[in-house]
């Protein structure tokens, strides 16, 4: 097990290096001199040269990359071009907002998705099953930013029950979490259903029934446990969608998270913040995938992953 984890960690090194190169090249592939963007359109050449020197832009690219990586490891991403604050200072509080949003949404997806999937599988072809699967299909196909707007219109504007924007209080959390968690719940529900159905038709479940075990015990202790691996796979895959979907959800509900920060700063051409934001999300995603891989291994000793 330990050997497996170490090997997977080593495999991450080229991926992380590649991700860093891509993010680093963002700034250098951009048309226009960054120093010009900072100094403003009509700045005298001396000012531009001064800024170039301060940012190290006059150095060869490999040297710049070396400095970028060295600083990034120390979580130093330089200063914002717009606010002049250290990027980390801007990013950090936003990171936690997005983290909270993603975690709550994931919990929502898992709880709602698995519950719906189990009901569907246990009562295959009943009206409950058909309803769940139809709702899941729509949930999967809905643009989450549209769902968010519609929820906002209904529950905040028409009914006045929940605040339309912001993040923090329990009332503010409900709508964004439903918005971001719905498509994940739909995917998990579909996977839970089909995985449970696969397991339920197997011999050992029939044996358990023949033994006279209660249906509840069979469903939760015997069937669900063995149906879990594909479900965990799908849950792991949902994280990517969740991090990406957070960008849109934050935009709809004016939540000051990382996603909204990245979009705002792309529009403002504030590259250090964009770079750092994208790098942080990608690195987090890579490590989540590692955790998912390790948890398969843990759930199923039969899996041999090279």
């Amino acid at each position: 097990m330990l050997k497996f984890i170490i090997r997977r960690l080593l495999q991450l090194i080229p991926v992380l290096l590649g991700v860093t190169i891509i993010v680093f090249s963002l700034m250098h592939l951009t048309p226009g001199n960054p120093a010009h963007i900072i100094a403003g359109e009509n700045a005298p050449p001396e000012t531009v040269a001064q800024i170039e020197k301060r940012l190290g832009l006059d150095e060869p690219i490999p040297v710049q990359f070396y400095h970028f990586v060295k600083d990034a490891v120390m979580l130093d991403f330089g200063n914002s071009w717009r606010t002049s604050l250290p990027v980390t200072t801007e990013l950090w509080p936003r990171f936690w907002v997005t983290f909270e949003l993603a975690v709550y949404s994931m919990i929502f997806s898992i709880v709602v998705g698995m519950a719906a999937g189990i009901i569907s599988a246990v009562r295959q072809y009943s009206w409950a099953d058909v309803t769940v699967m139809l709702v899941a299909l729509f949930g999967l196909s809905m643009p989450n930013f549209w769902l968010g707007l519609m929820l906002m219109q209904w529950f905040s504007i028409n009914l006045g029950w929940l605040p339309p924007t912001g993040w923090g209080s329990p009332e503010q959390i409900i709508l964004p979490v439903i918005t971001l968690g719905t498509s994940g719940a739909a995917v998990i529900a579909r996977m839970t259903r089909s995985s449970m159905l696969d397991v339920i038709s197997q011999d050992y479940i029939r044996t358990a029934r023949a033994k006279g075990l209660k249906e509840r015990v069979i469903t939760y202790r015997h069937a669900l446990k063995n149906a879990l691996i594909p479900i965990v796979t799908v849950i792991g895959l949902q994280f990517g969608g969740l991090l990406a979907g957070a960008v849109l959800t934050e935009s709809v509900f004016a939540i000051n998270g990382m996603g909204k920060l990245i979009v705002d700063r792309i529009l403002a051409r504030d590259f250090p913040v964009v770079q750092a934001g994208i790098l942080v999300i990608a690195v987090v995603f890579v490590f989540i995938n590692l955790l998912v891989d390790i948890s398969y291994k843990f759930l199923n000793k039969r899996i041999d992953m090279d």
Binding site: G18, V23, T30, W146, M150, L242, I266, I278, A282
Partner: protein, 297 residues
């Protein structure tokens, strides 16, 4: 190997009509699956609306009429009007084509690159395989539209750049699937036979491997178009895709957001249509998967 015996197309492959046979076989399976058929008809309907719809709309999609701005749905304006008094029904009809075109083009572009990389990787194996797959891992490390956001921050927001950005996201997903399928076909005896007969790699790849791995590619294509449509409209919604006054569906939703307090209908209809497009491709892809899955034959 039993997998050879169970391949009904093997005999025909010697006559060189494998591709056509696969296509017929494909249609036969497809027509037996209800979900795939419904999805297919829905896609066909949407394509027809996208092509011919704009010819029949009475209003101009970009013609402002401030006398009726922010009006709700009525007999004159089926989906109401927006803040410039433009007819939303007309704009939605024009937008369907734009949104679907972006989704399909980006999938084709990314798909072709991904298929080539995947086949090369799976067929030749070795160092080349390792290098290509590591590159794909790097691309996959950026979740969803994040890579598109990164690319658009460099290239700027435009329709062409949105297509490139989403295609880049499609490349690794196709490459992985195609590589896996290629690996499962590569070592079959008929490939060895072709090699023994002196067929070039190019010929083997395009005439003998590609036709045999079409099913997973088509399924992935349909499902990816669904997510490409979501990504494209999402980017427009953020202001990083189609620019005003384009009636792209995500851009229409973005307009609607600013008036959600007074005129909720502006956002409602474009979103509904996006959902319909995504639903059609999802249902079609799901149905195809069931119809084509060898385990279900």
């Amino acid at each position: 190997m039993s997998s050879n015996l169970s391949n009904p197309n093997l005999e025909q492959s010697q006559k060189g009509s494998l591709f056509l046979n696969n296509l017929k076989d494909f249609y036969r399976r497809l027509s037996r699956n209800k979900a795939a058929l419904i999805g297919g008809y829905l896609i066909l309907f949407l394509i027809l609306v996208a092509i011919f719809g704009p010819l029949f709309t009475v209003h101009d999609p970009n013609e402002p009429d401030y006398a009726v701005k922010l009006a709700g749905p009525s007999a004159e304006h089926w989906f109401g009007t927006d803040h410039h008094g433009r007819d939303i029904f007309t704009r939605v009809i024009h937008g369907i084509g734009i949104t679907m075109t972006i989704g399909v083009l980006s999938t084709i572009l990314g798909g072709v690159v991904g298929i080539i990389l995947g086949i090369v990787s799976g067929y030749y194996g070795g160092k080349l395989d390792t290098v290509i797959m590591r590159l794909m891992d790097i691309l996959l490390a950026f979740p969803g539209i994040l890579l598109a956001l990164a690319l658009i921050s460099i290239l700027g927001a435009s329709r062409q750049n949105v297509i490139i950005a989403i295609a880049l996201f499609a490349v690794p997903t196709f490459a992985r699937i195609v590589r896996g399928s290629t690996l499962s076909v590569r070592n079959l005896e008929y490939i060895d036979a072709m090699k023994a007969l002196g067929a070039s790699d190019f010929r083997i790849i395009f005439l003998h491997i590609l036709p045999n791995i079409l099913s997973p590619i088509i399924v992935q294509g349909s499902i990816f178009i669904a997510s490409a449509v979501l990504s494209a409209s999402g980017l427009s919604f953020l202001g990083l895709g189609e620019q005003p006054p384009s009636p792209e569906l995500g851009a229409l939703l973005s307009d609607g957001r600013d008036f959600i307090w007074d005129a909720g209908h502006i956002a409602f209809f474009p979103g509904l249509v996006i959902m319909l497009i995504v639903l059609a491709f999802n249902v079609f892809g799901d149905g195809l998967r069931d119809a084509l899955d060898p385990k279900m034959r």
